[in-house]
Symmetry: C2
Subunit: 197 residues, 2 copies
Amino acid sequence: MDDGSGQRRVGRPRDASVDEAILVATADLLVEVGFTGLTVDAVAARAGVGKATIYRRWEGKEQLVLDALTASRLHPEVPDTGSLRSDLLAYYLPLTEADAQAGAIRLMPALAAQAALDEDLAERLRAFVSDRRTPVAEVIERARARGEVDPAMDVELAIDLLTGPIMYRLYFSGSPVDPATVETLVDRVVRAIGPGA
Amino acid sequence: MDDGSGQRRVGRPRDASVDEAILVATADLLVEVGFTGLTVDAVAARAGVGKATIYRRWEGKEQLVLDALTASRLHPEVPDTGSLRSDLLAYYLPLTEADAQAGAIRLMPALAAQAALDEDLAERLRAFVSDRRTPVAEVIERARARGEVDPAMDVELAIDLLTGPIMYRLYFSGSPVDPATVETLVDRVVRAIGPGA
DNA sequence: CCATTATGGAACCATCGAGTTCCGAAACTC
DNA sequence: GAGTTTCGGAACTCGATGGTTCCATAATGG
Protein backbone atom coordinates (compact mmCIF):
# COMPACT_ATOMS: atom_id res chain seq x y z
CA MET A 1 0.00 0.00 0.00
CA ASP A 2 1.16 3.51 -0.71
CA ASP A 3 1.87 5.30 2.52
CA GLY A 4 2.50 8.56 0.77
CA SER A 5 6.27 8.23 0.53
CA GLY A 6 6.08 5.72 -2.26
CA GLN A 7 7.16 2.86 0.03
CA ARG A 8 5.42 -0.49 0.18
CA ARG A 9 4.43 -1.25 3.75
CA VAL A 10 4.41 -4.70 5.21
CA GLY A 11 1.41 -6.23 6.92
CA ARG A 12 -2.24 -6.40 6.00
CA PRO A 13 -3.18 -3.41 3.84
CA ARG A 14 -6.03 -1.15 4.77
CA ASP A 15 -9.29 -1.93 3.12
CA ALA A 16 -10.25 1.17 1.14
CA SER A 17 -13.92 0.15 1.11
CA VAL A 18 -13.89 0.58 4.89
CA ASP A 19 -13.11 4.28 4.52
CA GLU A 20 -16.06 4.56 2.20
CA ALA A 21 -18.42 2.68 4.51
CA ILE A 22 -17.43 4.87 7.47
CA LEU A 23 -17.89 8.11 5.54
CA VAL A 24 -21.25 7.03 4.19
CA ALA A 25 -22.43 5.96 7.63
CA THR A 26 -21.27 9.28 9.06
CA ALA A 27 -23.06 11.30 6.40
CA ASP A 28 -26.26 9.27 6.82
CA LEU A 29 -26.23 9.60 10.59
CA LEU A 30 -25.49 13.32 10.38
CA VAL A 31 -28.68 13.74 8.43
CA GLU A 32 -30.62 11.60 10.88
CA VAL A 33 -29.43 12.91 14.22
CA GLY A 34 -27.38 16.03 13.55
CA PHE A 35 -23.86 16.80 14.73
CA THR A 36 -24.35 16.71 18.47
CA GLY A 37 -26.45 13.56 18.28
CA LEU A 38 -23.81 11.75 16.28
CA THR A 39 -21.81 9.20 18.28
CA VAL A 40 -18.76 7.38 17.08
CA ASP A 41 -20.22 4.15 18.40
CA ALA A 42 -23.25 4.62 16.17
CA VAL A 43 -21.03 5.29 13.15
CA ALA A 44 -19.05 2.13 13.84
CA ALA A 45 -22.20 0.05 14.23
CA ARG A 46 -23.80 1.50 11.10
CA ALA A 47 -20.65 0.95 9.07
CA GLY A 48 -20.18 -2.57 10.44
CA VAL A 49 -16.77 -1.62 11.69
CA GLY A 50 -14.83 -1.61 14.94
CA LYS A 51 -14.49 1.72 16.69
CA ALA A 52 -10.73 1.18 16.79
CA THR A 53 -10.73 1.12 13.00
CA ILE A 54 -12.24 4.57 12.94
CA TYR A 55 -9.72 5.98 15.37
CA ARG A 56 -6.90 4.36 13.42
CA ARG A 57 -7.91 6.51 10.43
CA TRP A 58 -9.20 9.77 11.89
CA GLU A 59 -8.10 12.00 14.71
CA GLY A 60 -11.56 12.16 16.19
CA LYS A 61 -15.18 12.97 15.66
CA GLU A 62 -14.57 16.47 14.29
CA GLN A 63 -12.15 15.33 11.60
CA LEU A 64 -14.43 12.47 10.66
CA VAL A 65 -17.40 14.76 10.17
CA LEU A 66 -15.31 17.23 8.22
CA ASP A 67 -14.18 14.49 5.85
CA ALA A 68 -17.67 13.08 5.48
CA LEU A 69 -18.91 16.51 4.59
CA THR A 70 -16.20 17.06 2.00
CA ALA A 71 -16.59 13.59 0.50
CA SER A 72 -20.34 13.99 0.09
CA ARG A 73 -20.00 17.08 -2.05
CA LEU A 74 -22.26 16.59 -4.99
CA HIS A 75 -21.91 18.46 -8.21
CA PRO A 76 -25.53 18.61 -9.24
CA GLU A 77 -26.54 18.88 -12.86
CA VAL A 78 -26.68 22.38 -14.21
CA PRO A 79 -30.01 22.80 -15.97
CA ASP A 80 -29.94 24.51 -19.37
CA THR A 81 -33.44 24.76 -20.75
CA GLY A 82 -33.04 28.07 -22.54
CA SER A 83 -34.97 30.26 -20.13
CA LEU A 84 -34.02 31.58 -16.72
CA ARG A 85 -37.38 30.75 -15.20
CA SER A 86 -37.40 27.09 -16.20
CA ASP A 87 -33.71 26.63 -15.36
CA LEU A 88 -34.37 27.89 -11.87
CA LEU A 89 -37.45 25.72 -11.46
CA ALA A 90 -35.50 22.68 -12.60
CA TYR A 91 -32.95 23.37 -9.91
CA TYR A 92 -35.20 24.33 -7.01
CA LEU A 93 -38.31 22.19 -7.45
CA PRO A 94 -36.55 19.00 -6.28
CA LEU A 95 -36.08 20.73 -2.95
CA THR A 96 -39.82 20.47 -2.35
CA GLU A 97 -39.56 16.71 -1.87
CA ALA A 98 -40.09 15.56 1.69
CA ASP A 99 -36.98 13.38 1.90
CA ALA A 100 -34.67 16.13 0.75
CA GLN A 101 -36.20 18.50 3.28
CA ALA A 102 -36.09 16.12 6.23
CA GLY A 103 -32.42 15.47 5.71
CA ALA A 104 -31.49 19.10 5.24
CA ILE A 105 -33.43 20.16 8.30
CA ARG A 106 -31.39 17.91 10.53
CA LEU A 107 -28.08 18.45 8.82
CA MET A 108 -27.68 22.14 8.11
CA PRO A 109 -28.70 23.82 11.37
CA ALA A 110 -26.67 21.30 13.35
CA LEU A 111 -23.62 22.04 11.25
CA ALA A 112 -24.16 25.78 11.40
CA ALA A 113 -24.52 25.63 15.17
CA GLN A 114 -21.28 23.73 15.50
CA ALA A 115 -19.59 25.98 12.95
CA ALA A 116 -20.32 28.95 15.21
CA LEU A 117 -17.90 27.37 17.70
CA ASP A 118 -15.37 25.82 15.33
CA GLU A 119 -13.66 27.86 12.62
CA ASP A 120 -12.37 24.74 10.88
CA LEU A 121 -15.85 23.39 10.45
CA ALA A 122 -17.13 26.82 9.47
CA GLU A 123 -14.62 26.87 6.64
CA ARG A 124 -15.76 23.49 5.33
CA LEU A 125 -19.38 24.45 5.69
CA ARG A 126 -18.80 27.52 3.55
CA ALA A 127 -17.12 25.36 0.93
CA PHE A 128 -20.01 22.92 1.05
CA VAL A 129 -22.53 25.72 0.65
CA SER A 130 -20.48 27.32 -2.08
CA ASP A 131 -20.54 24.06 -4.04
CA ARG A 132 -24.32 24.10 -4.09
CA ARG A 133 -24.34 27.67 -5.28
CA THR A 134 -22.19 27.39 -8.37
CA PRO A 135 -24.82 25.70 -10.56
CA VAL A 136 -27.23 28.54 -9.86
CA ALA A 137 -24.50 31.05 -10.60
CA GLU A 138 -23.98 29.43 -13.98
CA VAL A 139 -27.67 29.54 -14.73
CA ILE A 140 -27.84 33.22 -13.88
CA GLU A 141 -24.72 34.10 -15.81
CA ARG A 142 -26.08 32.41 -18.89
CA ALA A 143 -29.35 34.29 -18.50
CA ARG A 144 -27.44 37.50 -18.16
CA ALA A 145 -25.63 36.76 -21.43
CA ARG A 146 -29.05 36.30 -23.03
CA GLY A 147 -30.16 39.67 -21.68
CA GLU A 148 -32.63 38.20 -19.20
CA VAL A 149 -30.82 39.64 -16.19
CA ASP A 150 -29.88 43.18 -15.23
CA PRO A 151 -26.15 43.52 -15.98
CA ALA A 152 -25.78 45.46 -12.74
CA MET A 153 -27.21 42.63 -10.67
CA ASP A 154 -24.84 41.00 -8.17
CA VAL A 155 -25.04 37.28 -8.89
CA GLU A 156 -24.29 36.30 -5.30
CA LEU A 157 -27.20 38.33 -4.02
CA ALA A 158 -29.43 36.88 -6.72
CA ILE A 159 -28.64 33.39 -5.45
CA ASP A 160 -29.34 34.52 -1.90
CA LEU A 161 -32.73 35.80 -3.02
CA LEU A 162 -33.62 32.31 -4.20
CA THR A 163 -31.94 30.04 -1.69
CA GLY A 164 -32.39 32.23 1.38
CA PRO A 165 -36.17 32.17 1.56
CA ILE A 166 -36.26 28.41 1.04
CA MET A 167 -33.72 27.71 3.79
CA TYR A 168 -35.36 30.20 6.09
CA ARG A 169 -38.70 28.49 5.73
CA LEU A 170 -37.30 25.03 6.22
CA TYR A 171 -35.17 25.74 9.23
CA PHE A 172 -36.82 28.56 11.13
CA SER A 173 -40.31 29.58 10.20
CA GLY A 174 -41.71 26.11 9.54
CA SER A 175 -43.73 27.39 6.58
CA PRO A 176 -44.20 24.84 3.84
CA VAL A 177 -41.87 24.75 0.86
CA ASP A 178 -44.05 23.27 -1.85
CA PRO A 179 -44.00 23.55 -5.64
CA ALA A 180 -46.47 26.43 -5.70
CA THR A 181 -44.35 28.41 -3.25
CA VAL A 182 -41.19 27.78 -5.23
CA GLU A 183 -42.88 28.83 -8.46
CA THR A 184 -44.07 32.08 -6.98
CA LEU A 185 -40.66 32.67 -5.49
CA VAL A 186 -38.91 32.12 -8.80
CA ASP A 187 -41.35 34.38 -10.63
CA ARG A 188 -40.82 37.20 -8.16
CA VAL A 189 -37.05 36.86 -8.20
CA VAL A 190 -36.96 36.75 -11.99
CA ARG A 191 -38.81 40.04 -11.91
CA ALA A 192 -36.48 41.45 -9.25
CA ILE A 193 -33.29 40.72 -11.12
CA GLY A 194 -34.55 41.32 -14.64
CA PRO A 195 -33.07 44.06 -16.83
CA GLY A 196 -33.47 47.64 -15.57
CA ALA A 197 -36.84 49.14 -14.74
CA MET B 1 -47.16 34.58 47.88
CA ASP B 2 -49.85 33.60 45.47
CA ASP B 3 -49.55 29.91 44.71
CA GLY B 4 -52.15 30.10 41.99
CA SER B 5 -55.11 29.04 44.13
CA GLY B 6 -55.36 32.42 45.83
CA GLN B 7 -54.04 31.05 49.11
CA ARG B 8 -51.29 32.69 51.09
CA ARG B 9 -48.55 30.17 51.69
CA VAL B 10 -46.48 30.17 54.82
CA GLY B 11 -42.72 30.28 54.82
CA ARG B 12 -40.27 32.39 52.95
CA PRO B 13 -41.75 33.56 49.68
CA ARG B 14 -39.97 33.03 46.41
CA ASP B 15 -37.91 35.95 45.25
CA ALA B 16 -39.39 37.00 41.90
CA SER B 17 -36.18 38.74 40.93
CA VAL B 18 -34.50 35.34 41.00
CA ASP B 19 -36.73 34.10 38.17
CA GLU B 20 -35.73 37.15 36.19
CA ALA B 21 -32.02 36.69 36.86
CA ILE B 22 -32.15 33.04 35.82
CA LEU B 23 -34.02 33.76 32.60
CA VAL B 24 -31.70 36.60 31.67
CA ALA B 25 -28.64 34.45 32.37
CA THR B 26 -30.12 31.66 30.28
CA ALA B 27 -30.86 33.95 27.36
CA ASP B 28 -27.40 35.51 27.51
CA LEU B 29 -25.66 32.16 27.66
CA LEU B 30 -27.77 30.79 24.84
CA VAL B 31 -26.47 33.56 22.65
CA GLU B 32 -22.92 32.92 23.78
CA VAL B 33 -22.65 29.16 23.62
CA GLY B 34 -25.81 27.86 21.93
CA PHE B 35 -28.20 25.24 23.16
CA THR B 36 -25.88 22.26 23.40
CA GLY B 37 -23.15 24.30 24.99
CA LEU B 38 -25.46 25.61 27.66
CA THR B 39 -24.96 24.01 31.07
CA VAL B 40 -27.22 24.44 34.05
CA ASP B 41 -24.17 25.00 36.22
CA ALA B 42 -23.17 27.92 34.05
CA VAL B 43 -26.66 29.41 34.26
CA ALA B 44 -26.60 29.13 38.04
CA ALA B 45 -23.18 30.72 38.27
CA ARG B 46 -24.11 33.54 35.89
CA ALA B 47 -27.34 34.24 37.73
CA GLY B 48 -25.63 34.11 41.13
CA VAL B 49 -28.00 31.38 42.17
CA GLY B 50 -27.84 27.83 43.51
CA LYS B 51 -28.50 25.09 41.03
CA ALA B 52 -31.17 23.72 43.39
CA THR B 53 -33.07 26.98 43.02
CA ILE B 54 -33.27 26.45 39.29
CA TYR B 55 -34.54 22.91 39.61
CA ARG B 56 -37.09 24.02 42.19
CA ARG B 57 -38.66 26.27 39.53
CA TRP B 58 -38.17 24.38 36.27
CA GLU B 59 -38.44 20.76 35.25
CA GLY B 60 -35.08 20.79 33.52
CA LYS B 61 -32.89 22.38 30.94
CA GLU B 62 -35.43 22.11 28.11
CA GLN B 63 -38.19 23.87 30.00
CA LEU B 64 -35.82 26.54 31.19
CA VAL B 65 -34.67 27.32 27.69
CA LEU B 66 -38.23 27.32 26.42
CA ASP B 67 -39.22 29.86 29.06
CA ALA B 68 -36.18 32.00 28.45
CA LEU B 69 -37.02 32.09 24.79
CA THR B 70 -40.62 33.06 25.41
CA ALA B 71 -39.72 35.67 28.01
CA SER B 72 -37.21 37.35 25.73
CA ARG B 73 -39.76 37.99 23.02
CA LEU B 74 -39.30 41.55 22.00
CA HIS B 75 -41.91 43.51 20.20
CA PRO B 76 -39.70 45.77 18.15
CA GLU B 77 -40.82 49.15 17.01
CA VAL B 78 -42.76 49.16 13.77
CA PRO B 79 -41.26 51.81 11.56
CA ASP B 80 -43.69 54.13 9.76
CA THR B 81 -41.81 56.60 7.61
CA GLY B 82 -44.33 56.84 4.80
CA SER B 83 -42.46 54.79 2.22
CA LEU B 84 -41.96 51.05 1.92
CA ARG B 85 -38.30 51.33 1.11
CA SER B 86 -37.37 53.43 4.10
CA ASP B 87 -39.60 51.44 6.46
CA LEU B 88 -37.80 48.27 5.43
CA LEU B 89 -34.39 49.88 5.76
CA ALA B 90 -35.29 51.13 9.23
CA TYR B 91 -36.16 47.59 10.21
CA TYR B 92 -33.33 45.66 8.59
CA LEU B 93 -30.32 47.97 8.79
CA PRO B 94 -29.85 47.38 12.54
CA LEU B 95 -29.19 43.74 11.66
CA THR B 96 -25.91 44.79 10.07
CA GLU B 97 -24.40 45.54 13.47
CA ALA B 98 -21.75 43.10 14.58
CA ASP B 99 -23.19 42.45 18.04
CA ALA B 100 -26.62 41.58 16.73
CA GLN B 101 -25.08 39.22 14.20
CA ALA B 102 -22.76 37.45 16.61
CA GLY B 103 -25.61 36.69 18.97
CA ALA B 104 -27.97 35.51 16.29
CA ILE B 105 -25.33 33.28 14.73
CA ARG B 106 -24.91 31.35 17.96
CA LEU B 107 -28.55 31.35 18.97
CA MET B 108 -30.63 30.52 15.93
CA PRO B 109 -28.84 27.57 14.34
CA ALA B 110 -28.43 25.94 17.73
CA LEU B 111 -32.14 26.30 18.41
CA ALA B 112 -33.10 25.12 14.93
CA ALA B 113 -30.86 22.09 15.31
CA GLN B 114 -32.47 21.19 18.60
CA ALA B 115 -35.93 21.94 17.25
CA ALA B 116 -35.37 19.30 14.58
CA LEU B 117 -35.38 16.75 17.41
CA ASP B 118 -37.91 18.32 19.77
CA GLU B 119 -41.39 19.28 18.60
CA ASP B 120 -42.04 21.33 21.75
CA LEU B 121 -39.05 23.50 21.09
CA ALA B 122 -39.90 23.69 17.40
CA GLU B 123 -43.30 25.11 18.33
CA ARG B 124 -41.74 27.82 20.49
CA LEU B 125 -39.15 28.59 17.89
CA ARG B 126 -41.88 29.15 15.31
CA ALA B 127 -43.66 31.48 17.73
CA PHE B 128 -40.41 33.33 18.35
CA VAL B 129 -39.75 33.71 14.65
CA SER B 130 -43.35 34.70 14.01
CA ASP B 131 -43.02 37.50 16.55
CA ARG B 132 -40.15 39.01 14.61
CA ARG B 133 -42.13 38.82 11.41
CA THR B 134 -45.23 40.73 12.40
CA PRO B 135 -43.65 44.20 12.27
CA VAL B 136 -42.55 43.58 8.71
CA ALA B 137 -45.99 42.28 7.85
CA GLU B 138 -47.47 45.53 9.13
CA VAL B 139 -45.06 47.58 7.09
CA ILE B 140 -45.93 45.66 3.95
CA GLU B 141 -49.67 45.79 4.58
CA ARG B 142 -49.50 49.53 4.98
CA ALA B 143 -47.53 49.85 1.78
CA ARG B 144 -50.10 47.72 0.03
CA ALA B 145 -52.83 50.06 1.24
CA ARG B 146 -50.85 52.92 -0.28
CA GLY B 147 -50.62 51.06 -3.58
CA GLU B 148 -46.89 50.39 -3.30
CA VAL B 149 -47.31 46.61 -3.30
CA ASP B 150 -48.93 44.21 -5.75
CA PRO B 151 -52.31 43.30 -4.23
CA ALA B 152 -51.74 39.71 -5.34
CA MET B 153 -48.46 39.46 -3.43
CA ASP B 154 -48.40 36.94 -0.56
CA VAL B 155 -47.14 38.90 2.44
CA GLU B 156 -45.52 35.87 4.05
CA LEU B 157 -43.44 35.23 0.98
CA ALA B 158 -42.52 38.89 0.78
CA ILE B 159 -41.12 38.68 4.31
CA ASP B 160 -39.22 35.53 3.39
CA LEU B 161 -37.67 37.38 0.46
CA LEU B 162 -36.25 39.92 2.87
CA THR B 163 -35.37 37.89 5.93
CA GLY B 164 -34.34 34.69 4.13
CA PRO B 165 -31.29 36.04 2.32
CA ILE B 166 -30.03 37.79 5.43
CA MET B 167 -30.32 34.69 7.61
CA TYR B 168 -28.86 32.50 4.91
CA ARG B 169 -25.79 34.70 4.65
CA LEU B 170 -25.28 34.92 8.37
CA TYR B 171 -25.68 31.26 9.17
CA PHE B 172 -24.55 29.31 6.14
CA SER B 173 -22.73 31.14 3.39
CA GLY B 174 -20.65 33.44 5.57
CA SER B 175 -21.08 36.31 3.14
CA PRO B 176 -21.11 39.72 4.78
CA VAL B 177 -24.38 41.38 5.72
CA ASP B 178 -23.50 45.05 5.59
CA PRO B 179 -25.56 48.19 4.96
CA ALA B 180 -24.81 48.22 1.24
CA THR B 181 -25.99 44.63 0.88
CA VAL B 182 -29.18 45.30 2.80
CA GLU B 183 -29.91 48.37 0.70
CA THR B 184 -29.52 46.47 -2.53
CA LEU B 185 -31.61 43.64 -1.15
CA VAL B 186 -34.41 45.99 -0.14
CA ASP B 187 -34.34 47.73 -3.51
CA ARG B 188 -34.62 44.46 -5.39
CA VAL B 189 -37.39 43.14 -3.21
CA VAL B 190 -39.33 46.38 -3.47
CA ARG B 191 -39.15 45.92 -7.19
CA ALA B 192 -40.15 42.24 -6.94
CA ILE B 193 -43.27 42.87 -4.90
CA GLY B 194 -44.32 46.17 -6.45
CA PRO B 195 -47.61 46.52 -8.29
CA GLY B 196 -48.01 44.33 -11.39
CA ALA B 197 -45.72 44.70 -14.37
C1' DC C 1 -40.55 31.92 69.08
C1' DC C 2 -41.87 28.22 66.01
C1' DA C 3 -43.10 25.93 61.78
C1' DT C 4 -42.46 26.43 57.05
C1' DT C 5 -40.50 27.49 52.77
C1' DA C 6 -36.71 29.70 50.03
C1' DT C 7 -31.93 30.89 49.53
C1' DG C 8 -26.79 30.07 47.72
C1' DG C 9 -23.39 26.66 47.87
C1' DA C 10 -21.26 22.35 47.89
C1' DA C 11 -21.11 17.46 47.59
C1' DC C 12 -22.90 13.84 45.39
C1' DC C 13 -24.87 10.34 41.84
C1' DA C 14 -25.86 8.46 37.26
C1' DT C 15 -25.38 8.53 32.55
C1' DC C 16 -23.42 9.19 28.28
C1' DG C 17 -20.00 9.30 25.01
C1' DA C 18 -15.05 10.19 23.35
C1' DG C 19 -11.09 7.85 23.10
C1' DT C 20 -7.89 3.62 24.37
C1' DT C 21 -6.54 -1.01 24.83
C1' DC C 22 -6.63 -5.67 24.04
C1' DC C 23 -8.16 -9.77 21.64
C1' DG C 24 -8.11 -13.66 18.05
C1' DA C 25 -8.19 -13.84 13.26
C1' DA C 26 -7.11 -12.36 8.52
C1' DA C 27 -4.09 -10.47 4.90
C1' DC C 28 -0.05 -8.98 3.44
C1' DT C 29 5.73 -8.79 2.65
C1' DC C 30 9.93 -11.07 2.77
C1' DG D 1 6.57 -19.79 7.81
C1' DA D 2 7.90 -15.42 10.44
C1' DG D 3 6.84 -10.91 11.26
C1' DT D 4 3.79 -7.08 10.64
C1' DT D 5 -0.39 -4.57 10.13
C1' DT D 6 -5.12 -4.84 9.51
C1' DC D 7 -9.78 -6.35 10.77
C1' DG D 8 -14.35 -6.38 13.92
C1' DG D 9 -15.55 -6.47 18.54
C1' DA D 10 -15.62 -6.02 23.36
C1' DA D 11 -14.07 -4.11 27.58
C1' DC D 12 -12.23 -0.36 29.58
C1' DT D 13 -10.98 4.64 31.41
C1' DC D 14 -12.28 9.17 32.09
C1' DG D 15 -14.29 13.71 31.79
C1' DA D 16 -18.55 16.34 31.30
C1' DT D 17 -22.99 17.34 32.66
C1' DG D 18 -27.94 16.74 34.00
C1' DG D 19 -30.11 16.20 38.09
C1' DT D 20 -30.48 15.32 43.43
C1' DT D 21 -29.56 15.90 48.16
C1' DC D 22 -28.05 18.18 52.10
C1' DC D 23 -26.63 22.15 54.64
C1' DA D 24 -26.77 26.54 57.35
C1' DT D 25 -29.22 30.62 56.90
C1' DA D 26 -32.86 33.99 55.68
C1' DA D 27 -37.63 35.45 55.33
C1' DT D 28 -42.30 34.85 56.08
C1' DG D 29 -47.02 33.69 58.84
C1' DG D 30 -49.09 32.51 63.08
